[in-house]
């Protein structure tokens, strides 16, 4: 089958699998920039810039570690059809087509070629031509939408739509293709949410509060905020990772909660630890965002 609207190569094109290295000494090294500096609270430094996309109402660009995220907000835009008393809100999150998505083995059903020992393959074979979202993109979009929805004053924009378009230009996901959900997916969701909040502020849409988010890992009772992606082979046993999003100035109301782990049972105290950790991180992020906006408005 070929797509009539795109140039996708000759009809019998095969996408080769990414195999192993013939150089036996070259280990399956995690590719990505070395860890960014961390301050005492455990939060990495991040780079933020708004207003870079001219044709969007609001935009933000965030770089932290190996993650590069760009968010554009379009809205309020008129919608056709009958009158609706509030704005409709949607989030679409897409990776650049050839960027390997975190945990794509697990969620995107990218197949493993048994002939190659490395378990990575490129994302969907039809990556160049797809219009739908992959499962991972769906998950992230859905989390962002759930978390941001309570913060927008939708009633102020009847018969309109507010759309957020997220493009992930780079991630830190390790290339080991492990089948356990690691910090990469939750980490990127965390930073996408923070970036989207900033873009919403830039767009001037009325908000009840700025949603910020934190991500933390609890491993053997040791809490680590903003965990960097650990390279493959690292033992993921007894790990709970979770991303929690808050509206800090509204009594730290939780607007989003996503936890992954491989323990068959976990204690309430562990969950509390994680939530507190994420809250700390989200407050840090909020402080940084506040100082960014106050400095750029001068």
């Amino acid at each position: 089958m070929s797509d009539r609207r795109r140039l996708i190569g000759p009809l019998n094109t095969i996408i080769p699998n990414i195999g192993i290295s013939s150089n036996a000494t070259e280990a399956d090294v995690f590719k990505g920039p070395s860890s960014a500096t961390r301050n005492e609270d455990g939060l990495r430094q991040f780079f933020l810039k708004t207003g870079i996309i001219e044709n969007a109402n609001g935009s933000a660009y965030l770089e932290v570690g190996g993650n590069i995220i760009q968010v554009s907000v379009f809205g309020p835009r008129p919608i056709r059809g009958s009158f609706v008393d509030r704005a409709s809100f949607s989030v679409e999150c897409k990776f650049l087509p050839y960027i390997s998505q975190p945990n794509e083995q697990l969620y995107n059903n990218t197949t493993v070629n048994a002939g190659s020992t490395a378990n990575t393959g490129p994302t969907n074979a039809n990556a160049n031509g797809r219009t739908g979202l992959t499962n991972i993109e769906q998950k992230i979009s859905s989390y962002i939408e759930t978390a941001l929805l309570p913060s927008i004053v939708l009633e102020k924009y009847p018969k309109s739509t507010i759309d957020i378009f997220v493009t992930i230009l780079s991630t830190e996901s390790s290339n080991s293709g492990s089948t356990k959900v690691d910090a990469a997916l939750l980490g990127i969701s965390n930073w996408v949410l923070n970036c989207s909040s900033v873009a919403l502020v830039d767009s001037g849409i009325e908000l009840k509060d700025v949603v910020t988010s934190g991500v933390a890992t609890l491993k053997n009772d040791k809490l680590l905020l903003d965990p960097e992606v650990i390279s493959s082979g690292e033992d993921n046993e007894n790990t709970l990772t979770c991303v929690v999003s808050f509206m800090n100035l509204r009594n730290d109301e939780i607007v989003g909660f996503w936890m992954e782990g491989d323990q068959s049972k976990f204690e309430e105290s562990q969950v509390e630890q994680l939530i507190d950790g994420c809250n700390n991180m989200s407050r840090q992020v909020r402080a940084n965002i506040n100082s960014y906006f106050t400095s750029t408005l001068e």
Binding site: L7, G19, S22
Partner: protein, 373 residues
Amino acid sequence: MAELKQVSFPPEILARIAPDISLQRHLSIGLRPNLRNFTEFKPIDIASNNELTENNNNVFGSSVIKSGSTTVINTITLGVVEVNSSTKSATTEQLGNAGYTTVYPVIEIARGRSGAPTDEEMILSQTLHETLLHSRLIPKASLSINNYGAAVYDATLSNYSIYYPDLNPQEFELINFNHSKSYTFVLLSHIKIFSRQKSTSALFDLCHLSTVHALSRLQLPRVYISDTTSGTKVSVKSRSSNTRGLVGLSRSNINIDTNKELFYPLVLNNSEDAMVDSSGPFDHSGVSSNFGVVTVADADKEGNDEEGKRSILLADLEGEAEESAILSRLSIISNKSNTIKKISLINGDGNSEISLDILKQALEIAKLRAQQM
């Protein structure tokens, strides 16, 4: 009886409701709405780092270009296609123009809505595809996969080893390997354009620049075949599948060797007789420039004809006023050795004619620009 009062609009509003009038007013006082000189091009920044290629093992060439607020991100990935062995033996000269191939680009302009490619995206992709083909930039021979290897499972070591006919000749001979098929690479490019402000012709210039730059940094890997006895995986298409459109790309047992030491650059057709000090990637391919011609009606100016009109050549169209009011357009690709690679001229306006003099002037400017790149 109501009196008619004259309504005046601030410049930004006028630019949207009456772009042609706004443009005329700017031009008659010697300005452009975007405040550039008539023949000045918008500056372009080309990112020198190679992060996208380094961080992703299925991206083999990439380029990030910024011009004003418009950002163009280009990633080149590879496909493999089987070729008829007989055509492989002919040399590039024997095949004539058929000895060259091109890139298959998919252009996506971020415009706040998702869906199928627009006409503009399709036209840009096809123009880029044809331009690179006819400019004879990529010889077919550069993409052919010679010496592909085989992966052999070593039970004692519990892993695979890869052997190539040229690098490991002795081990290779021991493998019972059917080496009869010939393969060649296919260059697939994906271009994402953020915050476009420019006209389509200016976007083409950026995409062309981006693609040539990415090609100059492209590194091709080695390829090996894994054994076919490892079991076939049959994918079952589920109802919830979102793989609309293209489904049929088959996975076979062709794999890319991620060993970076064996990567080799793509050999482009750089003409050896480009006598310049620093040979850059644009020596052969040339640099694309776009122009528009508009007629300004103003009396009492020298250089006008009897009706008081003069034709002005504007370089690098940008902005709503220029985009909608200028219908006579010119796109030129010119390279350092003063060869013209492509001209696309359309005289869309009865009033503004692209005369031969203006064409000559535009060619001069395009030439100078190519030399400066």
